[in-house]
């Protein structure tokens, strides 16, 4: 599987370099980006600080989504109570004001937290494109170690600088690299197995 150079790049997802130390992965990601590759990703069994920066991923819209969710929840919660007690079903109790806003604080607060929290989770999953049961990197034979002990760096075939031989030798030249393999697209692998 590791020397599938015969496969036409059209059937190839990309190449995967394997490491055993998080430091090496961050260094490799930095070097790869420095080399000019842009369609790269790194895989690790735990979050590594600095790794997202090293592959050129700096910001996420997630905090904005959470803020929006919180605002919607809070405003929605408050105005639901406002609507219920002043417009939809006003009850005059000894002349007390209909819009008794201090009494609405608790539910407004809880709705803010609920909506912001759910936005954080659903927003994270949506931006990550999850759930996604299958992805071509899972075709790499030892990629299952990415959730346990090993660290991987991928360069996609879609990258402008991607070239079967030169990319393979570039990855093989990275410090402390353990293996370099070509990752086929799913259907190619099935075809090969058949």
């Amino acid at each position: 599987m590791s020397t599938t150079h015969e496969i036409h790049p059209a059937g190839v997802y990309g190449m995967l370099a394997e490491f055993t130390d998080p430091k090496d992965l961050v260094e490799a990601a930095r070097l790869t980006r420095h080399e000019g590759f842009t369609r790269i990703d790194a895989y690790s069994p735990f979050p590594i600080h600095g790794l997202a920066d090293a592959i050129g991923f700096h910001t996420t819209k997630l905090p904005l989504i959470v803020l929006a969710g919180g605002l919607i929840g809070g405003l929605g919660g408050f105005f639901m109570q406002y609507y219920a007690t002043t417009i939809s079903y006003p009850l005059n109790i000894a002349g007390r004001p209909y819009n008794s806003w201090p009494m609405y604080i608790v539910i407004t607060f809880e709705m803010t937290i609920l909506f912001a929290g759910l936005s954080a989770v659903l927003g994270m999953l949506a931006l990550n494109g999850l759930p996604q049961p299958h992805h071509p990197v899972f075709n790499a034979p030892n990629f299952e170690l990415a959730s346990r002990t090993h660290f991987f760096l991928s360069i996609e075939a879609r990258d402008e600088r991607f070239d079967m031989d030169r990319t393979a030798s570039f990855l093989a030249g990275l410090p402390n690299v353990r293996s370099v393999q070509t990752v086929p697209m799913g259907n190619v692998r099935d075809a090969m197995e058949a």
Partner: protein
């Protein structure tokens, strides 16, 4: 590099001496150990016996609920003047227990306490199951649980709204938000570990099930980046939430004009009590699990010691609450308040009050001593005493304030019936059965966070003994191979 017992008296008094994870572990060994508990270890006899007993109690719960639904809440001991009996006592007790899980998972995360990592997953699961048990009580106490959806604001043909100005309504929002947020927080924490389980499992159907739950997680750096952002934001949101939940529970009492309830000390005193009882329950549960699963490398004496300290600190706040209640009772000059406090101390429920003082105010003072905090069986016994004490506290608060109404003609006594006990014991069974299933089916320690801890420890062999010691033992100045802040 082996962990060295402290030798001289100076070292002995450095509090951070015991590491949060015993040295000598690598990514492989922590992954194998924790996922192996589920995937490779045979179901122990203790598990089968424990689950069987819990399951019997769940059946007691079902029978008690069935009888309750058939006959109505009259099968309980509640009546006028004591309309809030076991149902509210147990509701407050269970909700309080849940608070430790959120405190450990959210507040200690924001405070960058490494030691939370080994216990947060388990404590969060405990929170979920405790809140689920708690939620049953108000649901059943409304009398017609099949109409409980009336509590939610939905467009209805009666053209009515719930009473948003009532603390009982606030409770509905607070507790359901708390349950939802605890659930997603727990699940988000599980996703990377479910991916590990998927990749580690051998049997196809098992792989498939964990794979479905892992949502296709592949550990991409982009994913981790958003994941961590989401996790920290959730922790930031859960922190005020957990404080609000027991505050709202206390407002159920404090906004009334019942003597003994109508008090501004209630919100902080309830929140402290919740964390106090929650940590007691975490200790009650983790100590046996640590022993049977041999998790001493991950749940070290440092964890137990720290939890005992949190218990001591929150216990002291609770004791301050008791003093304030008694002081205000007499100082207020209000006849009814003074009578309530005297009746609580010397009336028919005095044994409950003094047992509560023994359990919550006296016994936890033992935790001042380091040797007792590190004596595991004794700590376990103290944690159970605190659990009982906190249950008694709620019993005393609910019952003594209600049973002597303003007019002697409406005085009464509350006696729980067998169905009260049935539901209470049944929810304990439900809670334990859920926990037994959890530790059998899911990784009970967050594996990826432990790997992260391992990555920040110096690798065995790479560093000399001294360097290793300095870096591994003192939190906060551990080397971070990836650079950047931890």
């Amino acid at each position: 590099m082996a962990y060295r017992e402290p030798t001289d008296s100076y070292e002995r008094y450095i509090p951070a001496k015991t590491p949060v994870i015993e040295p000598g572990h690598d990514y492989e060994s922590v992954t194998e150990k924790i996922s192996g508990l589920v995937l490779t270890q045979h179901t122990g006899r203790w598990w089968i016996v424990g689950f069987f007993i819990s399951f019997l109690l769940v059946n007691v719960l079902f029978i008690s609920i069935a009888w309750l639904l058939y006959k109505g809440v009259g099968v309980w001991g509640i009546n006028i003047p004591v309309g809030w009996g076991f149902a509210i006592v147990n509701f407050v007790w269970w909700i309080g227990i849940g608070h430790a899980g959120t405190l450990i998972s959210a507040i200690l995360l924001l405070l960058k306490q490494d030691w939370r990592t080994s216990i947060n997953r388990f404590a969060e699961a405990m929170t979920l199951f405790a809140v689920a048990s708690a939620g049953l009580f108000p649901l059943l106490h409304v009398g017609r649980p099949w109409l409980a959806y009336w509590l939610f604001p939905y467009p209805n043909t009666m053209l009515l709204w719930p009473q948003f100005r009532s603390p009982l309504m606030w409770d509905v929002f607070a507790v359901s938000t708390y349950f939802m947020i605890s659930l997603v927080f727990w699940y988000v924490g599980l996703i990377p570990d479910l991916a590990t389980m998927r990749d580690r499992a051998v049997l196809k159907p098992i792989k498939y099930i964990y794979g479905l739950m892992a949502l296709g997680w592949r550990g991409s750096a982009r994913h981790w980046h958003r994941y961590e952002t989401a996790y920290v934001l959730l922790a930031g949101l859960a922190t005020p939430l957990v404080v609000s939940v027991h505050t709202v529970v206390s407002l159920d009492f404090a906004t009334s004009i019942i003597p003994g309830w109508h008090s501004t000390i209630f919100p902080p005193y309830f929140v402290a009590g919740a964390i106090f009882s929650g940590f007691a329950m975490v200790l009650t549960l983790t100590i046996p699990v640590r022993a049977v699963y041999k998790l001493h490398d991950f749940i070290t004496l440092r964890h137990l010691d720290n939890m005992a300290k949190v218990m001591l600190a929150t216990g002291l706040i609770v004791v301050y609450g008791y003093f304030t209640e008694a002081f205000i009772g007499f100082y207020s000059g209000n006849e009814y308040e003074t009578y309530m406090i005297r009746n609580r101390m010397f009336g028919p429920y005095a044994p409950g009050f003094w047992s509560l003082m023994l359990c919550n105010a006296v016994v936890p003072q033992l935790l001042w001593f380091r040797s007792i905090r590190r004596n595991v069986p004794l700590l376990w016994a103290i944690s159970i005493v605190v659990n009982i004490g906190m249950w008694l506290e709620r019993y005393v608060i609910v019952i003594t304030s209600l049973h002597r109404d303003a007019l002697p003609s409406s005085w009464g006594m509350y006696y729980p019936t067998i169905w009260d006990w049935g539901v209470f014991v049944g929810t304990i069974g439900l809670f334990l059965a859920n926990l037994f299933l959890f530790i059998r089916l899911l990784p009970l320690i967050s594996v990826f966070e432990i790997r992260e801890l391992v990555s920040r420890q110096p690798e065995a062999g790479n560093l000399s003994e001294d360097e290793g010691k300095d870096n591994a033992m003192i939190p906060g100045i551990k080397p971070n191979p990836a650079g950047g802040d931890a």
